[in-house]
Symmetry: C2
Subunit: 482 residues, 2 copies
Amino acid sequence: MTNKEFREMGHLFVDWMADYLENVAEYPVKAQVKPREIFNQFEDNMPTNGEDMNVIFKDFQEKILKGVTHWQSPNFYAYFPANSSYASVLAEMLTATLGAQGMLWETAPAATELEEKVMEWLKNAMNLPKNWHGVIQDTASSATLCALLSAREKYTNFAINNTGFEGFTDFRVYASSQTHSSIEKGVKIAGFGKENLVYIPVKENFSIDENALINAIEKDLKAGKKPLCVVATVGTTSSTAIDNIRKIGEICQKYGIWYHVDAAYAGSVAILPEFSFMFDGLELADSYVFNPHKWLMVNFDCSAYFVKDKGTLIRTFEILPEYLKTATDSLASGADAVVVNNYRDWGIPLGRRFRALKLWFVLRNYGLNGLQTKIRNDINLAKWLENEISQNTDFELLAPVNLNLVCFRYLGNNNLDKKLSEEALNEINAKILQNLNKEGKIYLTHTKLNGKYTLRMVLGQTNLTHAHVTQAWELIKTESRK
Amino acid sequence: MTNKEFREMGHLFVDWMADYLENVAEYPVKAQVKPREIFNQFEDNMPTNGEDMNVIFKDFQEKILKGVTHWQSPNFYAYFPANSSYASVLAEMLTATLGAQGMLWETAPAATELEEKVMEWLKNAMNLPKNWHGVIQDTASSATLCALLSAREKYTNFAINNTGFEGFTDFRVYASSQTHSSIEKGVKIAGFGKENLVYIPVKENFSIDENALINAIEKDLKAGKKPLCVVATVGTTSSTAIDNIRKIGEICQKYGIWYHVDAAYAGSVAILPEFSFMFDGLELADSYVFNPHKWLMVNFDCSAYFVKDKGTLIRTFEILPEYLKTATDSLASGADAVVVNNYRDWGIPLGRRFRALKLWFVLRNYGLNGLQTKIRNDINLAKWLENEISQNTDFELLAPVNLNLVCFRYLGNNNLDKKLSEEALNEINAKILQNLNKEGKIYLTHTKLNGKYTLRMVLGQTNLTHAHVTQAWELIKTESRK
């Protein structure tokens, strides 16, 4: 492709992109394809000769797009959103064009220092502890793994990094029964064994029972085990339950346990002063993660990971072979030290994309006010829906609406049906979900709360308006009555 | 930002992107900024009110760009390239726009199935074993970690995942002294301890000494240790040395050791039949990684990871909480089984970008012929430079030029200088590198080979031509004589 062709195709793409984002609500939000339908369209081998970009682009529209579930549709109420925005897409265009590699300060000074700057911006806007240091990870799963590994190495004074687990088994990690599956994944990778992840029961509001946590720690200590890390959650995946950050932090302090706080989804509300109570006690945490790529209009992937002690993080991951040594390494020590971050030592991958750029674009384009307005709107939409459901005797709320996730189920027509068994309700609600998603008008997912099949509806997509929510609610009522 | 503004800005961006890529050779290839220069330009806090995209874009050009090291410049000879291409940038524009999340088949059927398809394309074009399964990882570091974890879990029948290291210490991992630093990083994360990474000495051509490997394994077995994994390299970072894949594979077979092959950089030459000898014996490997984001014109990040036994990979990482269960999960078993990949279980992160799209765009736009031509050209440029250096008595080649990396040093003016000490040569060559990079005309990096400070020059950047290499060589000669 020549530069001229690239320019022409680029303009064609931009018009398609603007059209797509303008009309994204018109697509069936959940892809209407069968397994293997996309795969089977293409030859077994790549083409021998190069193909014109027009042909490839046409194939994209005709053969790929139908297999896309439209995460940027306002009809997307499933999982948690992976919000994008115009500003973020524009930034990604530049990131792709520069193709810079941010493993070291020297290989990408702008990417490195802008990352440090925007993480400071987030820290300040969210009133996170001043002494924290931020770094962008791909996902909260990776960030949590970093936390578990840092806890492991700090506890053992880096002995496992050096000589392995000999003499260091019996670590215990604690999290609520509502914790995200990435904690188990991290516990396995770090070598603790999932049987050493202790699930602590929750209270009625699905937040961790602190007394049960204390009891579990005490029991383990008596059995000679080593309490290593507690993971608290601000906004669980099933129901956005909020653990008591201060109380758990005080427990961790008392027992000398690494304290990791997972606010992957809900962390974005920290920009709202009226929700600061949810983060009270956060200064007790050793590590913290939230995902701007979920509710803060920054394209996936962009996970914000903060630590109190960056030295431990760096020592957990650092490597310095000859071919990665640079002149600026030596600037990091001595009296005239200039701190240069080499982010390769702040996580698992060596290579790193210039992800700070999209964060910078979004934070500037929205401004703090713009982001606050957006998130407040979403929370108000959830309040509206919560109110609708609570006034409708055919439906039942299954968890407190702490933020913008509404957990509910259909109970049957209250006027006609006899009271249905729990089993029947589970079946009916699973069926409702299946039918709703099949039509492609809206996309919801489910969870189980106290054994009850629960419909989850997250009101946070970038392009969501009150009209969309009203329509969705009508559709849910209609579909349920069928 | 409105849709109309996005469209306008998008067109503005595309023109800038085309201009940038057309003129990328004119920028100082290595950023000419001092530490903190980028950071200090910006306020301590994000703006309160949203800013116009024109202002942000202007700041990008005036305040960010000067801190960018231009990885897409043909004057970039440092590290290994992180090649991009027009086709890949276009694909990234669509990926950012769709903002799809490929954790499960259901959340992104097109991303999931296109990934499977393009990995098959690579497998076939590169004559990789038919029974392998491919998945895209972010980096080779992460892929190698996956290999080490899979080896760990297979050996222990998933006991470490379940109960931890109790009873399973003393694992040993083997790699050459020239192996990449990511192996050590992975060994530490997986909990083996870096003292259990055994560095095997290399032969004169910097490839692993197979007899030394056998001796190390035998010695460990006698000492009651457990040989777990051998990592062989096709194309080491320092000098693109090629380990003997078949011989090492046979050793692994004999001792029942997991065999991981790291071809992160050099793996791309597998599309050239004349280089198939480098990959002879690859069917003996359990896992294999190479990076299309290095030498195959696909934007970072895109690392291709292949395994023989996908069941072990999946069992190493799998998680299935209620909120991630989907209707298609059940399709994966029973008589009418339809295989649906849920790539969340094929690596560390849960969330995944739609990276298959750029690979698909590049493979189709270049075609196999186009990619072969590009890579052959680079290798011929390296041969030309090798020849120039070998005929110049002021310079010395320090490693075989197996592909497109030339390792050399300046020896001093052969007619005038007395023979310089090794120490003096190391100092002189470090100084030459520093001065070359300082000017911003070309960017090289270094390594040490047999204690000798070595200039590394990789001839593989997407936009590289013979004219660039000629110019660079003249510059190196001139700078060295100073």
